[in-house]
Symmetry: C2
Subunit: 337 residues, 2 copies
DNA sequence: GGTTAGCACTCTCGGCATGAGAGTGCCAGT
DNA sequence: ACTGGCACTCTCATGCCGAGAGTGCTAACC
């Protein structure tokens, strides 16, 4: 257990270091905050904190830096969340409502807005249900022998695929075909349809139903992610050198980001989870932190996460992630689905 | 006019510099390629080439580096394009056909494949017609009071929008509504529909037609771009330092990339255009080069471009861009759009 | 016992000089 | 026209030095 003084000292170290990115010295601590004691005393206390693993030392004659454990303690017991200013909340909400594009555009926008607000990278996944059902199938003729299949799923996703069709088919026939197809697939999940596919007598219909299954399963298994705020992230001093920056870009541009999030998803929507440094399951991410939240309801939920160095404004980031997740949840529930 | 020897020397300087990214010296030139002359002679020739502006000098005692003009001469008169190996062409074509996702996935894949092949960033725009017509409109009920409008345009684009609908509407009514809407909009361009909108008597129909116009115009005016290969680009030595890398990321992550391409689009599909350094209209891009090609036909064309430092493997990049553009064109014409 | 002043010690960092190395430019000779 | 030779320039790595920033420890103090 930490004494009250050590606690408050730890808090100051974290605040200071998060702000400046410079190791914080005992002198700076007493100078900047009117502690009633001398630097020497503070040094003794910091030494104790270091013994207990809450802070570290880059080298002998440098100031102190919080360790993962220190941040964890800070997040759990010390910090007081900094709520959004009315102004800020209004701006964000405004930007949200203003965007009238497709779901994809809107998600990218949401990610960008949050990224700007917390000055770190943001990853958002598209909302998806656990086992979405097919709402509607449409076949649209594009050319003589080419049609487009458009499938709408009940979590709001629209998937498309171009298909060759026999030369003589025209739009009204396609329409009828889609109608018949719909009878077999509408209201059913991919798994459900798949069971029926084999038993279909009509070969053409069977092939089409197979495509529907493909589209639905692709959608379910591959959670498309939107990444924004890369420049803001890279402007952080921890990525000042070329190699570190390249390393960071490689990590985030790779297609592993989705997997990253999966391992960290908080169970319940509305819940926000914080992963600090070595708490991260992926040990490539040991100097990174993530603040992850789910948004949306049971039948169409997604993930939104801030990704950045462990030196992060947790007290600002956490409420902002929560706010944006709530906002996204509302919009998804109200007008999207 | 350049003498034959100077020409070949310029070619060697470009080759060497593109390969190593190091200023090339007279000695290295005679050592590596069996020129029948001494370094001193080469120096004299290089001095002449420098006088005429084809190469430069970082500082007195450094080797030579091609100038924009030198690259231009190289691209126009000196280089012999390096065609793809059968192996390489097969691999790329294979990856292309293998991808069966939606158009978007496929475009991102194409960009990634090309980026990997030329080790630079690649920007691809979605194919779009000059004034696409509406092929099909569908209204799908997602919830009690929420519907999804899905519009298919004849350049193969699918756009969607979520709409509130009156509480009591059910799917069959929506279907009928879409049917009626289709009669007004099918086969027409956004501009055409817009003219009719005002004169519509039914208010609900008018609102819906307005949304169709919005979607079509958004699609037309905003050319979505896909960027891939950022890590490959940033691994180039010109971006070794942190600031330069950050600068590069800012430039490419910003939404200006699309505008960038517009100013550089070659007129005819099949045509490939090369912009070297200061030839770039945007003077922020003066140490960048772009190899730009159009793909697809008249009614649905897009742009594919390689973006990188002026020190670029033009002789490899140009045929690869052309190859990929042709491949994309074929696929767009055959099965898509 | 907690606190503090003082001080030795350590480590980083910027500046500076130095020397090696890499190139060029030019001149004089072939 | 070509070349060897040479002076000159510029970069870069290295080592050194001194200033500065911190700590850790000890001895004294309240």
């Amino acid at each position: 257990m930490l004494t009250a003084r050590r606690e408050s000292l730890l808090g100051l170290v974290v605040d200071e270091y998060v702000e400046t990115a410079l190791p914080v010295s005992s002198r700076a601590l007493v100078a900047r905050h009117g502690l009633g004691v001398s630097p020497a005393t503070v040094r003794n206390e910091l030494a104790k904190l270091e013994d207990e693993g809450y802070i570290t030392h880059p080298h002998t004659s440098a100031g102190r830096v919080p360790s993962d454990r220190g941040y964890r303690y800070y997040v759990e017991a010390l910090m007081t969340e900094v709520p959004l200013q009315a102004e800020e909340a209004r701006t964000i909400a405004h930007q949200f409502h203003q965007a009238e594009g497709s779901l994809d555009d809107w998600l990218a926008l949401a990610a960008a807005v949050l990224a700007a607000s917390v000055a770190n990278a943001v990853v958002v996944t598209r909302p998806h249900g656990a086992a979405p059902r097919v709402r509607n199938v449409q076949l649209v003729q594009l050319r003589r022998d080419v049609a487009l299949m458009v499938v709408v799923l009940d979590d709001g996703a629209v998937r498309e695929r171009v298909l060759p069709v026999s030369d003589s088919t025209d739009q009204s026939e396609l329409h009828a075909l889609a109608e018949r197809l719909g009878e077999h697939v509408a209201g059913r999940s991919a798994a459900h349809i798949r069971r029926d596919v084999e038993s279909m007598e009509d070969e053409e219909l069977r092939a089409l139903a197979g495509t529907v299954v493909d589209l639905a399963e692709e959608h379910r298994s591959w959670h498309e992610t939107f990444l924004e705020g890369l420049p803001a992230l890279l402007a952080q001093p921890e990525f000042a050198s070329g190699e570190q920056m390249l390393e960071a870009v490689r990590r985030l541009e790779g297609y592993e980001v989705g997997r990253l999030l999966e391992s960290a998803e908080p169970a319940a929507p509305g819940d926000t989870r914080v992963l600090i440094g070595s708490e991260n399951p992926d040990h490539e991410m040991h100097d990174w932190s993530m603040v992850v939240a789910r948004y949306g309801g049971g039948d169409a939920a997604g993930t939104v996460a801030v990704v950045g160095p462990t030196r992060m404004h947790y007290e600002r980031t956490i409420p902002r992630v929560r706010f944006v997740a709530a906002l996204m949840g509302n919009l998804v529930n109200e007008t999207r689905s």
